[in-house]
Structures are given as C-alpha cells and as structure tokens.
C-alpha cells in the first residue's frame, strides 16, 4: 500500500512530462491527485484499524502519526490540484506562463507531493532525505515567475533551508551514533519503534546536542523565529497553489520531523529539555510574527507571517504537552492547513482579479467576487481564532493545556498575542473585503474549479469548529499516545 502511495505521484509527474496539451496535463494532474487521495485515505483507515504497517525491509513505515500527516497531505494536495486547473488555466490564458512552464509546474508539484508523502512514511534516517527533497522540489514552484523578487525568494529559500537541513542531518547522525552505541553496529536500518525502545539508555549529553541541531535544522524549515526569514518571501512569492502547498503541507512535514525527535529525546533525557525548547521557539515565533502581521502591506506576506504565528502555536502545544496539549497541537496542524489553504486560494483569486498582492489597492471583494469574498472573510475569521471555527477550538485546547500544566505567564502572554493578532489581521481583511471596489473592477469570480477547491476545504473549516467526528478524535488520540511517551 505504501509503495502505491509513493508510486502514484511519481507516475503522475512522469505522465505530465510527456503530456502534449494543457487539457491533458490538467486531466493527468487531477486524476493523479484523486488516486493519491483515495490510496492515501485507504492507507490511513488501514493504519487506524490494524496498526502500524511496514514494508521494504522496514525502510518504509506508517504508524498513526504518519497516517495523520498523510491524511493532511493527500487532502490538501487534492484540493490544490483542483485549484491548479482554475488558477493556472487563467495564467495560461493571460499569457503569464507558457505551456512549457505549466508542464514544469505540474511535474514539480507532483514530485513535491511525493516527497511530502515520503516524509510521512520514511523510517528514521530516511526522514532527512525526504525533508530535503521537499525543499528541492518545491523551489521550482517559487521560481516559476521570472520576476526579480521571485528569484531572490527562491535563492533565499534554497540556501537558508539547505543550511538548516544540513544541521538537522548532523543531529540525525548524532542520534544514530547514540543508538549504535547501545544497539551495536549491526543494527542496520533503525526504526522509530526500536529507537524509542532503547532511548532511555542513550547518552543524555549526546542526545541533548542532537536535539538542538534537529530543532534548529528542521525549525528552519518549519519557520520558527529566528530562522524564519526565508518563509515570508518564499510563501508570498510562490504562485498561490505553491503557497498553499508550502504553508499547508510542507511546513507540517518539518514539524513532524521535530516531534519525532522530540519523542526520542523525551524518552532519553526526560521531557523538560525538549519541551522547554519547543515552548521557547513557539513563543518567539508568536512574539515576532505579531508586529509584522499588524504592519503588513502585502496580503500574501500577511498570510505567510500568519503561518509563522501558527507554527509557533503548534510548537507551544507540543511543548506544553500532556494529552490535552498534544491533542490541541495535532488538531491545530490540520485546522491550520485547511484554513490557510483556503486563504491562499482566495489570495490567488484576488491577485488575478486586481493584479496586485498589496493590501491598499484592494477593496470591495465581497461585492466584486460574490464567492471568494465571503470565503475570504470566513477564512479570515477562522484563522484568527474566532468561534465557531476549527482553529478557535484547537487554540483553546492548547491554551487550556498551558494553564493546566502550570505555564500561567506564558499562556496569558499567548492569549494576549492571539488577541492582538486577531485585531491586526482582521483589520486588513476588513479593508480588502468591504467598501466598494475600485473603478474598473467588474463583478465576476474565479473559475468553478478554483471555487470548488475552496468550498471543499471550507466544509472542514466550519465543521471542525462545531463537531469533531468521533472517528477523527479517535485517530488523533492514537497519535497522542505515540507522542506522549513520557507521561
């Protein structure tokens, strides 16, 4: 099953290479993502019903945590591939890109989906390779524009993330060394399970140093402050489908990597060490993102800084720990992915209609775009954590965990920052959505494909605020049991 899941995106990319017309490329892309979604969901259900799956001499491995990541990836990946048809079709019609670039975009999009799925199923050491691949394959999605700023963003992205990921490799090797000292050289491929089983015998100093390297390394990719500098550039300069992929999918992969090592480090040296580091980075991300959100002039950068903020909140949730904190953090990962994707889709529609990503010249979206407008407002409300949407619930859970675990000052500070961000963020959305559209803007919305993709995700945004299906919460509880090793 895992093999098919990995094979489908690669095959889709290959078929896109040989496709001749726009129509063919779009059809292949959509069929490929639908197949990925179906196989992905089957795998997810399989894992939650029957437990861990391993194949290929246990190099590939899927437990509940992997399945959760695969669920997010395949769902968002499917929505993006629908959105791609509408968005890229329009770009092609406007002459912004040609067929060759469209093909390149599709090929790398599906390769990127492949690498993000690989992050989920890679066992231990392979994880590093997969996360590095997500960087390499997503870079062309940013560089598809030939604008100077896009080139600059891509170069920053490549360089900063490569350095980060190299540091993470060093951390991975130190972990491997710690394991080899206990298990002996013949251990061969180590699995997450076998590492955790012996983690309490690891050399504590070694493991602490390893975790710091891992956290700084993958934290660069996750956009933790102060390693976040590439993120607003890359996420805003990419075309909207690419931005949604980076913010909704790729960023989660890095967090997943950190948490995998957080589990091992907790088992080796007790959970205070890695938890307090996670809380520190989470809080820093929140503090630094706030002024940038309030003062922002570009609506795509606004969304990018909001990603920094939300990854901070996720880190805080995992850092607070306990069943409640981890549950909240996991739920938040899902909620953030769907909500942020809706918003980036809306941002793409706005850019195509108004021809700008600046906030000031944009107004009256609700009037000029009867579908995108309301969904933008709804997404804006949801992402800032207002009830009754999913993010409200997950933020509440994380804060409750913070107060319960005795982090009173930090939790109060977080609450305060979230409130400030709400005001600042929604102020921007307000200005864009309401009042009258500028002259020369006619009423008319994006294509059905784009709107359809948004609507699918909006269903999750709304539903998870009022009702979490018991199957879904069972699923998250299984993941919580994996993460929460040291009780």
């Amino acid at each position: 099953m895992i093999k098919y899941l990995l094979l489908i995106p690669v095959l889709t990319a290959l078929f896109c290479v040989i496709a001749r017309t726009e129509k063919q490329i779009q059809t292949i892309g959509l069929v490929g993502s639908t197949a990925t979604l179906i196989v992905g969901l089957t795998l997810v259900i399989d894992v939650f019903k029957h437990g861990t799956i391993t194949t290929w001499e246990s190099m590939l491995f899927a437990d509940a945590f992997s399945a959760y990541l695969i669920l997010i990836t395949s769902l968002i990946g499917f929505a993006i591939s629908m959105y791609l048809i509408g968005y890229m079709g329009r770009e092609l019609k406007d002459g912004a890109i040609d067929l060759k670039r469209l093909r390149i975009y599709y090929v790398f999009y599906h390769l990127c989906i492949f690498s993000t799925l690989l992050v989920g199923v890679a066992n231990d050491l392979g994880l590093w390779i997969a996360i590095e691949m997500t960087t390499l394959f997503s870079a062309p999605l940013i560089a598809i524009n030939t604008k100077k700023s896009s080139i600059e963003a891509t170069w920053k992205y490549l360089i900063i993330c490569s350095v980060g990921i190299t540091l993470a490799l060093f951390g991975t090797i130190l972990t491997y060394y710690a394991a080899v000292q206990v298990l002996g050289e013949g251990a061969g491929a180590l699995s997450w399970v076998s590492l955790i089983a012996v983690a309490d015998q690891f050399d504590p100093t070694l493991m602490k140093i390893a975790f710091v390297f891992i956290l700084v390394g993958y934290g660069t990719k996750a956009g933790f402050v102060p390693m976040h500098t590439w993120l607003p550039d890359a996420h805003s300069e990419a075309q909207s489908p690419g931005s949604a992929l980076l913010s909704g999918v790729v960023i989660n992969c890095a967090v997943y990597g950190i948490i995998r090592f957080h589990i091992i480090t907790s088992a080796a040296v007790g959970k205070e060490f890695s938890s307090s580091l996670l809380i520190m980075f989470g809080l820093m991300s929140l503090v630094i993102a706030t002024p940038f959100i309030i003062m922002q002039r570009d609506h795509k950068r606004l969304l990018a800084y909001s990603s920094v903020e939300h990854m901070g909140i996720v880190a805080l949730g995992f850092g607070f720990g306990g069943v409640l904190g981890i549950f909240g953090a996991l739920l938040h990962m899902f909620n953030h992915s769907v909500t942020k994707s809706v918003l980036f889709f809306a941002a793409g529609n706005i850019r195509q209609k108004y021809g700008t990503t600046k906030i000031d010249p944009v107004s009256g979206i609700v009037k000029s775009m009867p579908y995108t407008g309301p969904m933008l407002v709804l997404g804006g409300l949801a992402i800032t954590g207002s009830p009754p949407f999913g993010i409200f619930l997950s933020e509440l859970t994380i804060l409750a965990a913070g107060f319960m675990q005795g982090y009173i000052i930090i939790s109060t500070l977080v609450l305060l920052l979230i409130m400030i961000i709400f005001a600042g963020f929604f102020n921007h959305i307000n200005r864009m959505a309401l009042s009258t559209p500028p002259e020369g803007i006619t009423v008319g919305d994006a294509s059905k494909w784009s709107l359809g993709a948004m609507m699918i995700l909006v269903v999750f945004v709304v539903m998870l605020g009022v009702y979490i299906p018991p199957q879904f919460s069972d699923m998250i509880m299984q993941v919580v049991n994996i993460v929460n090793v040291v009780r």
Partner: protein, 219 residues
C-alpha cells in the same frame, strides 16, 4: 565499538589534511582554487571511507567511497567550473570579510569545535578527533556562506558543511545504512543541479551573481 586497526596512523593524517584543504578554500580569492580545494577535500573523504571500509571489512562502505569520488570529487567540481565558464563569472571572489581575518576566524572555529567535541562522550580517541574536525567543517562552511558574496561560493559553503557531516558519519558510526547514504548523495546532486539552474537565472535576471543584489524582500 571496535577501533580501526588498519590505518590508525593514516587516519589522523587524512583527517588533518581535510582540515588543511578547508583552510586552502578559506584562504583563496580565486574561484577555481576554491573549487579545486573542494574537490581535493572530497577526494580525501573518499580515501577515509575506503580506509574505514578496509579495516571494518564492510564492503558497502566501498560503494560510499566510490560514490564520493565520482559525485563529490568529480561531477560537482565539474558542474561548478562549467557554470562559471558559461556565465563568464569573474575569477576573483568578492568577500565581506578579508582573507586574513577569515583565516583567524577559521582557526577560532576549529578551537571551539575541539572543545565542543570534548563535551560529547566519544569512546575512542580517533572518533573524537574526527568529530572535532567534522564540526570545524560545519562551522567553517557556515562562515564561508555568510562571508562571501558570490552565489557559487554560498553553494560551496553548503557542500563543505555536508562534507563535514559525512566525515562525522563515516568515522563515528562507520557510515549509515547504504540506502540512506545513497539518498543523501542523490539529494546533494539534485541540490547542486537546482542551485546551478538558479545561479543561471540570477545571472540572467540581475546580470550578476553577487548575492548583494538580493535584498528587496523585507518586512
């Protein structure tokens, strides 16, 4: 873990030479010399891997050694020279930090790495030695990235960091499982290719490969 018996005299010399090659790179203003120094360093790494393979009797490490030789000591330097010829980049490297302070900082980084490596419990003298050099390469690579202006020297910085990690991996754990090593080589190669393409794009768009010009996206 068993001590390497064969080449126990050879290994420290090789590792020391790797450090020397890093300083060759740090102390040169000519791009080609830098690329050659990198190629030499990769060659030395391949030899280290071969020595480890011989003394531990694990044949898959020979594959790693061979791949290092092909990819890092031949293909990647070739790609570098080709890119710089094709875009007609100036031979001189421009620096933010001049050569002599660079060398001093490099020396300081080596000392720091030595003390950091002491903090980690490593059971053999040789591994300890290798780890401190490995960390030195990591830090010096990082320093090269932030102190040089050209896009290509930033790529070189990353590759030096990677070489450092490779040295650490091969001498601490006698290499990781082969499939993982293969993946890492694949990633390094793809990274160089994609960054190479980006260097072309930067050159085409900005008509220079000085990364100074990349400073418009702020706030």
């Amino acid at each position: 873990m068993s001590e390497i018996d064969f080449g126990s005299g050879l290994m420290p010399a090789l590792i020391a030479l790797i450090l020397v090659s890093t300083f060759m790179l740090l102390g040169s203003k000519r791009l080609y010399t830098c690329v050659r120094a990198f190629g030499f360093q990769s060659f030395l790494l391949a030899v280290v891997a071969a020595v480890v393979a011989y003394s531990t009797g694990r044949s898959e490490i020979y594959v790693v050694s061979f791949l290092t030789l092909i990819i890092k000591a031949a293909i990647i330097p070739y790609v570098f020279i080709k890119i710089s010829r094709d875009i007609g980049v100036k031979r001189e490297i421009e620096l933010y930090v001049n050569i002599s302070p660079s060398l001093l900082i490099g020396g300081l980084l080596v000392v720091i790495s030595y003390y950091l490596a002491q903090a980690i419990n490593i059971n053999t003298q040789l591994s300890n030695y290798a780890l401190s050099v490995s960390m030195s390469l990591l830090f010096i690579g990082l320093f090269i990235m932030i102190s040089r202006k050209k896009a290509m020297t930033q790529m070189l910085g990353i590759l030096i960091m990677e070489n450092g990690i490779f040295l650490g991996a091969i001498s601490l754990t006698y290499g990781m499982p082969l499939i993982v090593e293969l993946g890492i080589f694949f990633d390094a190669l793809v990274a160089v290719l994609i960054m190479g393409i980006m260097v072309f794009r930067i050159n085409k768009t900005f008509e220079t490969v000085d990364t100074d010009v990349l400073h418009t996206l702020i706030g």
